[in-house]
């Protein structure tokens, strides 16, 4: 299936012509199942691979800011909300510690807490989901 390679914010269509030669000897390149790592002219670049279906599904607005994600790896110090809580944009959801500094992760919009994905003391990686919000009840 053809697809797209995402560099920074831009998606570039990627395809191989039928009968094109297989990967030639050249600069170091590695595909890890999701990203392609390319080392060229002394610099390393990380390209994200999206097959066409996934790319178009995402472009159609699958992912919203309903899920608050970890801005960096760290450990949960405190949780300020519980399931069912109504929150406003700017409210502190979770306090994390990373690089020996405490950081408050705040709600990016108004909503109701659908689930809290972490517990106090839990370690997480960057981009891990912390809290999921649903739309405010009308």
């Amino acid at each position: 299936m053809p697809g797209f390679l995402i560099i920074g914010e831009t998606a570039y269509p990627a395809a191989l012509a039928p009968g094109a030669p297989p990967a030639a000897e050249g600069p170091p390149v590695l595909f890890d199942g999701r990203d392609v790592w390319v080392h060229v002219d002394g610099e390393t670049y990380q390209l994200q691979w999206r097959d066409a279906i996934t790319h178009h599904a995402e472009a159609a607005g699958g992912e919203t800011d309903a899920v608050c994600r970890a801005p960096m790896p760290g450990v949960v110090i405190a949780i300020g909300v519980a399931r069912g809580d109504q929150v406003k944009a700017g409210d502190t959801l979770v306090v994390i510690e990373s690089m020996k500094l405490e950081t408050a992760v705040k709600a990016s919009r108004n909503g109701v807490v659908e689930s809290v994905h972490v517990a106090v003391g839990q370690a997480f990686e960057r981009d891990a989901p912390l809290v999921t919000l649903t739309e405010e009840p009308s």
Partner: protein, 491 residues
């Protein structure tokens, strides 16, 4: 203190320094022993160790701070000496004592020396009493009632520091003395929060300071030498990221003076082992900052310019041997640069990155002290350094060229690193001219931003990447329907 020859050395550390120490231990024909936490399984040190014991704790860091557990593992493996590396328990006098109490040689200075030089305020007082330069300062403990007055009398700018501090936490620069009291209050509350100890001291702040330090070695026979200086002014978040030797800031007279002062301080402390005397340098003046009573991360630049193996020297000293050379025989040769390769994102304020190291291929013609192996995960459990790249040139210009070449040849796939940032830093005009200071990286935001990728480069990257994507390869091999139909035609 136990001295005398030993046949085995345990490394009470991890990462690149564990592997680096074990390399010398093995080269000297000694048994190399290791304690390790399971998150580091398969790290480079494992292949060098003759025996390993697992240690554990509430966190991986806690395991390496658990002196009792490490001493038990050491006795279990029959270790006759312990090398503490840097960080963790390396400057903990109680650890040095418990090692000695177990009948094992601690490779480092005596616990009393660690106690004297490890306390910032006590070490400053010791150095000042010797008549060596320390920055004009006011120490709260000496007379808390007059502290603010004495601080004000130093004149702006001044730097407020927690007495119990380290790592840049709770430090505040005051340029306007009208804000002095408010800043002292804020520094005290930070110091209480970070260290549980609100005591402060202030010292005259040197604008755009340089960090220059001197490597010293002392033996058990009263011999103390210096191994010249290193400059470590390129820092981010108060942490060193590039170190070099010699310092581009010093002429021969200034170099001789600072090195002799460092050796004098070490001699007065009856220093035994490898240590580093750190100075702040600015406007032609230098002040004692602190002494580190251990091997430093950046020791390889000194090894490159002197041709010495500092771990081998530490082991010989711990075995009671006198230093085998005199000061005049410690000759500088060329210029060396060390670059700390870290899993961090310069564009996001150097925040740590995590992931699996899918490829790690060091460049040719450079020393690379690796802390992780290909295939290993880098987690937030420890610091972000994954290795150190060390280059040695004929002079500084040559060393900078070699640094750029080595960085360009170092391939790390699987997680974001600071390699691109270091390449830009090595090409920065302030760096190439040697006009560096500890605030340079913070005041040069252009260094940390990711460079833009133009359309031509993007096309090239896509063309290089596409053949490696299985989905696209399957597409390529599929014979198009029209061609398949044509294949069946016969005329």
């Amino acid at each position: 203190m136990i001295t005398g020859r030993f046949t085995s050395v345990l490394v009470a550390n991890r990462g690149e320094i564990a592997a680096r120490v074990l390399r010398t231990v093995k080269a000297l024909g000694l048994r190399g022993l290791l304690v390790a936490h399971e998150v580091d399984a398969g790290a480079p040190a494992f292949a060098l160790a003759d025996d390993v014991r697992w240690i554990s704790g509430p966190t991986p860091v806690a395991a390496f701070l658990d002196a009792a557990q490490i001493v038990v593992a050491a006795r279990d493996m029959g270790a006759e000496a312990i090398h503490p590396g840097y960080g963790f328990l390396s400057e903990n006098p109680d650890f040095a004592r418990s090692v000695a109490a177990a009948g094992i040689t601690f490779i480092g200075p005596d616990p009393e020396t660690i106690e004297l030089m490890g306390d910032k305020v006590r070490a400053r007082a010791f150095v000042e009493a010797l008549g060596f330069p320390v920055a004009p300062s006011a120490i709260e403990d000496e007379d808390p009632a007059t502290f603010v007055e004495r601080a004000r009398a130093l004149g702006a700018p001044i730097l407020i520091k927690p007495s119990a501090g380290g790592g840049g936490k709770g430090m505040r620069i005051v340029r306007d003395l009208a804000a002095l009291e408010a800043e002292i209050d804020r520094a005290r509350s930070e110091a209480l929060r970070y260290f549980g100890d609100g005591r402060l001291f202030v010292e005259r702040y040197i604008e755009r300071p340089r960090h220059i330090e001197v490597q010293v070695l002392g033996d058990r026979h009263g011999g103390v030498l210096h191994l010249h200086e290193r400059e470590c002014s390129l820092q981010r978040r108060f942490q060193k990221v590039v170190e070099e030797a010699p310092s581009p800031a010093l002429d021969d007279a200034a170099r001789a003076r600072i090195c002799e002062v460092a050796a004098g301080i070490a001699r007065s402390a009856a220093y035994v082992g490898a240590g580093t005397v750190e100075f702040v340098y600015g406007a032609g003046a230098f002040y004692f900052l602190e002494m580190n009573t251990r091997l430093q991360v950046e020791h390889p630049v000194t090894e490159a310019i002197t041709g010495l193996d500092l771990v081998a020297e530490q082991i010989r000293i711990a075995q009671g041997e006198p230093l085998a050379f005199r000061q005049a025989e410690v000759v500088r040769n060329g210029h060396a640069i060390e670059l700390r390769i870290c899993a961090e994102d310069a564009a996001r304020d150097f925040s740590p990155t995590t992931g699996r190291v899918l490829r790690l291929s060091p460049p040719p013609h450079a020393r690379f002290d690796a802390g992780v192996s290909e295939g290993a995960g880098v987690t937030a459990a420890f610091d972000s350094m994954i290795g150190k790249l060390v280059v040695h040139g004929l002079d500084r210009t040559d060393a900078l060229a070699k640094a750029k070449e080595a960085l360009a040849g170092l391939v790390v796939f699987g997680l974001r690193t600071n390699i691109g940032f270091l390449r830009r830093l090595m090409a920065d005009p302030a760096v190439t001219s040697g006009a560096i200071h500890t605030g340079l990286i913070a005041e040069t935001p252009g260094l940390t931003a990711d460079p833009a990728i133009d359309a031509a480069l993007a096309d090239r990257l896509v063309a290089l990447a596409a053949p490696h994507i299985p989905d696209l390869q399957r597409e390529r091999r599929r014979v198009p329907a029209l061609h398949a139909a044509m294949g069946a035609w016969r005329n």
